[in-house]
């Protein structure tokens, strides 16, 4: 696995950060602070009762639960799942208009302007982390006043998903440029990472061997979700090796 990570880290151009995330499943308590933080950071609307009943909820990040054992000797494991930012993303080649692609920093990008809403990408995603906007989003007053101006509101008819908080990456770069310095490890903190009370999530540049995330990927505990599909996600899950 360490090998896989190194290989993925090296493919980027020189000095271009290669963003990746490591999530320590032994630390995650399933508290869902990340879910709440993500929704408010990224202007993700709630679907409402009727739409939710039709399975049309939108959560850029969710907590999957796994139960082990028989009641009452039950053990629960939690796994936060967001867009895995795959290097070999199944969503990309099926888009007829190139609205989704991988950029030089390894982000799987979704361009809402370009999207025509075929939903092929969402249907081809093995992680089911892409969401179609059946309706234009609405926020009851006064919640409309808390929207994040750095994140565009997605109109109806397009697919949206986790961006690794691309706006925060941009912001961190602008701030670094303003100070005339390079981005330092830890400057970019997606909302989920920032809000995790157990500090289970780490985000950073995996092509920088000294970064926290690179060290975690080299720990021998890192694995990827549905690894056998060969999607090469940029999200790595740390588990006790067994």
């Amino acid at each position: 696995m360490a090998e896989q990570a190194t290989q993925q880290a090296e493919q980027g151009a020189e000095r271009t950060p290669q963003w990746a995330m490591a999530i320590d499943l032994d630390r995650c308590t399933g508290c869902e602070a990340c879910v709440v933080a993500c929704a408010s950071e990224n202007n993700v609307p709630t679907a409402g009762e009727d739409q939710a009943a039709m399975g049309r909820t939108k959560h850029w990040i969710r907590i999957d639960r796994y139960y082990e054992g028989e009641f009452p000797d039950i053990k629960v494991k939690y796994r936060p799942v967001m867009c895995q930012q795959c290097d070999e993303a199944p969503c990309e080649p099926v888009c007829p208009v190139n609205a989704t692609y991988q950029n030089a920093e390894g982000l799987n990008v979704q361009i809402y302007n370009r999207c025509i809403g075929t939903r092929y990408c969402a249907n081809n995603c093995p992680y089911t982390v892409r969401f179609f906007n059946w309706f234009a989003p609405e926020w009851a007053e006064p919640l409309n006043l808390q929207l994040n101006p750095d994140v565009s509101i997605r109109p109806s008819g397009v697919v949206e998903k986790c961006t690794f908080c691309a706006h925060k990456i941009k912001r961190a770069k602008l701030d670094a440029d303003a100070d005339g310095r390079d981005l330092a490890d830890g400057d970019v903190q997606p909302a989920c990472v920032q809000s995790c009370p157990a500090e289970a999530m780490v985000f950073g540049d995996m092509s920088d061997a000294d970064s926290k995330v690179a060290r975690q990927l080299g720990s021998g505990r890192a694995g990827q979700l549905l690894e056998s599909l060969g999607t090469k996600p940029r999200v790595f899950y740390l588990e006790k090796a067994d």
């Binding site: 692609y101 950029n103 030089a104 982000l107 990008v109 361009i111 809402y112 302007n113 370009r114 750095d150 994140v151 565009s152 509101i153 997605r154 109109p155 961006t163 691309a166 706006h167 941009k170 602008l174 440029d177 303003a178």
Partner: protein, 187 residues
Amino acid sequence: MKGKPAARASRLGPASAAGLSCTSLWGEFLVSPAMLLALLLLVVQTASAAEQPIGFSHTAHIEKARMQCTDCHEGATSRDSAGLPSIRKCMLCHQFIATDLPEVVRLSEYWERKREVPWERIYGFAKTAAVQFRHAPHARAEIACSQCHGDVASMTVAVKAVTHTMGSCIQCHRENSATDDCLACHY
């Protein structure tokens, strides 16, 4: 489009009445063909400006008051948005300067009512365009305001002199080997 001439006319209204009744200066202004022509040119020149609540003048402030763009648009070099100045800033000067000019009188009326001037916005993208523009990196790249806003220093109220489209953004980005990654502007 028709807004500005109307604003000019209303500005002349009280003054011309005064001109007819007493001051010879305004009387002369009304009859002089040269002045009328000048007025006409002014109207034509500003015909594409938005209708603003006050006949603000960029020229007056840059040439007479010797102000810089960033004195009023504080974020234009350092932040995302350039921003429009608060009336507090205007009144730092206009409590004392040019208090008798008709447009400044109208400005102080807003001040007395403790209101901001409801400026009509000129530039900007529709929310649905999902475009994120940032002034700071352009200032760092030493791109002049005029490349994207025209010669504002010689305008009265700002006129939309440059149309911003994705094509114009990308063209300059390519010429300056700046980014053309979709994610740079759309997120």
